[in-house]
């Protein structure tokens, strides 16, 4: 089942395909960001390209296609914007970020537990007993597999 589509506030502006309009805007924004990052790099000539030649070419092309999408969205009817499930997004990405910052100092067991438990909150039917047992099992398994059996350099416990 596709997530519900938002009723389009942009309809008043004559935009017939809000999803493409927004997508085009995103492309334009990325192109602008890239151009800003490479503004100081020398372009050179086609024969002797500077570091800025190729990325600038791509950024302009990307911006161009962004404009094409936006132009098309005024003419052709298309999909509305899809709703973002911010809660799931924050929980899952947040869990990964916690793991990233914790892994070197807190070790695999604690940061892994944090990752699994925080991300599990995004589930629509959460059963704590089951989640705790399963997390414990997976952590034992990954401790045995990665640092021990495969000898990968992962700290297991917090470094004090």
């Amino acid at each position: 089942m596709p997530p519900p589509q938002m009723k389009v506030p942009a309809a008043g502006l004559g935009i017939r395909s809000p999803r493409n309009f927004a997508g085009g805007l995103v492309l334009l924004a990325i192109a602008a960001l890239a151009l800003w990052q490479i503004q100081d790099l020398s372009v050179g000539t086609a024969m002797r390209m500077g570091p800025g030649y190729y990325p600038r070419l791509l950024a302009f092309l990307l911006g161009f296609f962004g404009l094409v999408l936006m132009a098309g969205s005024v003419v052709v009817h298309g999909d509305g914007l899809e709703r973002w499930r911010v809660k799931n997004l924050v929980l899952v990405l947040g869990a990964i970020v916690i793991f990233a910052f914790a892994i070197r100092t807190l070790g695999l067991v604690l940061s892994g537990a944090a990752l699994m438990l925080v991300s599990a909150l995004a589930s629509h039917d959460l059963r704590w007993r089951e989640v705790l047992l399963f997390t414990a099992g997976m952590l034992v398994f990954s401790v045995i597999l990665f640092p021990i059996a495969l000898n990968l350099p992962l700290p297991i416990w917090p470094r004090l």
Binding site: L62, V92, A100, I103, G112, A122, V131, P153
Partner: protein
């Protein structure tokens, strides 16, 4: 004959107990992860990459190839039993495979899929062994302009095969090329688009991008749809297809193998097309086309054979030209680079043990899949019954451990979160991430060859049109683009992707 001698040498490499074991473990683990719904081969390989870090190059590639076949086969198993394809290439298998499962013939469907795939794998392995050296010798004549033209063709192919809007697919290709340009400039070493983050000096790590776009984003998307899975596990009886099934399937398997082998060689992910092409063909020439979609065994046998043959022959462009035809092969490039091997026509000469060992292990891997999978179906079924609410935190854990261990860098793990967000956002605006990934890997190669071509020609872009091979490749690319833009094809393409 030379091919046989080389294959024998390859067998010698692949049959050492260590490599045999690696192939077996790869196929097993690949199937195990591939069976999980919503995890395609790309995410599976990216996740399991760390398993190969401590191995030598040959062992690592043999294991990765095993993981790839395993993941493919696992995807088919899920398609048949749960009607939930893990990837685009097993969508077709759900049509008749799941219907067969509903009629209590899951065993026969799985058996035919395995046997058909095995046969296709054998033929395709031979094709790789015969065509590989020929193409590699052609590729040695290639200069920078030819390589550039070939990559253009590959990217155009990827656009054509992407579902949805062409404009959006092209935009994703350009975005991928742009992401590939992040990092130090190849000639001057000047940092480009690194946002002053020192860890980006070497560019964006491809495992980070792959796991973010295909692993994490997929999980967040899956969480939006409440789970509805009916596993048809209890009904699996005899795994062997009846004699009648085999007789009906023989011809479709042969046709599927041929289609898959040819499409797999094409640059630009032709392998994805193979199962669709095979299904359409079988339906068209069937005496009772109305049986299709209601559990026709031909509808499983042909596409599965085509799928596997295509998976196999898509190694050809990678091994002979060094150009990955699809995101999975792009991951293989990454794995080879980690091992210090630059894929290309020279690998066959400088590293024949690796080249032929890998080809031999392709065949062994296929044989193992038949041997291990049929008896282990019960285990896969039980794995399929683990609810998603438990699976996804575990998948996240393995993804994060995998990414962290590549460079021991926490910034890489942060990158996964970032590209998870990007991937989720892109799909919300109707962009497909697969062409992006391919362009990302080809990007640096393209820039290098573009710069080199224009240096040779003193800045004259006609260099791409003056040389016959590069002109030919560009003409094919232009023809492909024209074909898709034509309204009649546009309509048919839409239908094909809807089916």
């Amino acid at each position: 004959m030379d091919v046989l001698g080389n294959l024998a040498m390859g067998m010698g490499v692949a049959l050492t107990p260590l490599n045999l074991g690696l192939c077996l473990i790869g196929a097993l683990v690949g199937t195990m992860i591939g069976v999980l719904p919503g995890l395609g081969p790309i995410a599976t390989i990216a996740m399991l990459l760390p398993l190969t870090f401590s191995l030598d190059a040959t062992g690592a590639l043999i294991m990765l190839a095993g993981i790839y076949y395993g993941a493919q086969y696992g995807g088919s198993t899920t398609a048949i039993l749960v009607n939930m394809p893990g990837e685009t290439s097993s969508v077709v298998t759900t049509l008749d495979g799941h219907q067969m499962a509903r009629q209590g013939r899951a065993g026969a469907a799985l058996g035919i899929a395995a046997l058909g795939s095995f046969f296709a794998g054998c033929v395709a392995t031979l094709a790789v062994a015969i065509l590989g050296p020929i193409l590699a010798s052609v590729a040695k004549e290639f200069g920078a302009p030819e390589y550039f033209a070939l990559m253009v063709l590959g990217l155009v192919g990827a656009t054509v095969l992407a579902s949805g809007s062409i404009v959006k697919a092209v935009a994703m290709i350009i975005l991928g090329l742009l992401l590939g340009a992040v990092g130090s400039d190849i000639e001057t070493g000047t940092p480009r688009m690194t946002f002053d983050i020192p860890q980006l000096a070497d560019g964006i790590n491809f495992t980070v991008l792959a796991i973010g776009l295909f692993g994490v984003a997929e999980i967040i998307r899956n969480l939006e749809n409440p789970e509805e899975r009916g596993v048809l596990g209890a009904k699996i009886r005899g795994l062997l297809p009846t004699w009648q099934d085999i007789k009906t399937s023989a011809a479709p398997v042969l046709r599927g193998t041929f289609l898959g082998s040819v499409l797999g060689i094409l640059p630009g992910n032709g392998a994805v097309l193979a199962p669709y092409a095979s299904y359409t063909l079988e339906k068209k020439i069937a005496r009772e086309p109305q049986r299709f979609g209601r559990g026709a065994v031909e509808g499983v046998a042909g596409p599965e054979a085509a799928n596997n043959a295509g998976a196999q022959t898509s190694f050809i462009p990678l091994l002979t030209l060094g150009i990955p035809p699809n995101p999975v092969m792009a991951l293989m490039v990454g794995a080879m680079t980690i091992q210090g091997i630059i894929p290309g026509p020279q690998v066959m000469d400088t590293n024949p043990q690796l080249f032929w060992g890998m080809i031999a292990s392709m065949w062994l891997g296929n044989a193992m899949l038949v041997v291990i999978n049929l008896p282990m179906i019960g285990l896969w079924v039980r794995l399929l019954m683990v609810p998603y609410r438990l699976l996804y935190p575990a998948i996240l854990l393995f993804c994060c451990i995998g990414v962290f261990t590549v460079n021991n860098s926490y910034v890489d793990v942060l990158g996964v979160a970032f590209f998870g967000l990007v991937g989720y956002g892109l799909t919300k605006f109707g962009f497909e991430p697969a062409p992006l990934m391919l362009a990302f890997v080809l990007g640096p190669l393209m820039e290098e060859n573009l710069r080199r071509s224009l240096l040779i020609s003193r800045g004259d872009p006609m260099v791409f049109l003056n040389r016959p091979i590069s002109l030919g490749l560009l003409l094919v690319a232009a023809a492909l683009l024209l074909l898709v833009v034509m309204p009649s094809v546009k309509k048919r393409r839409k239908e094909a992707f809807q089916e």
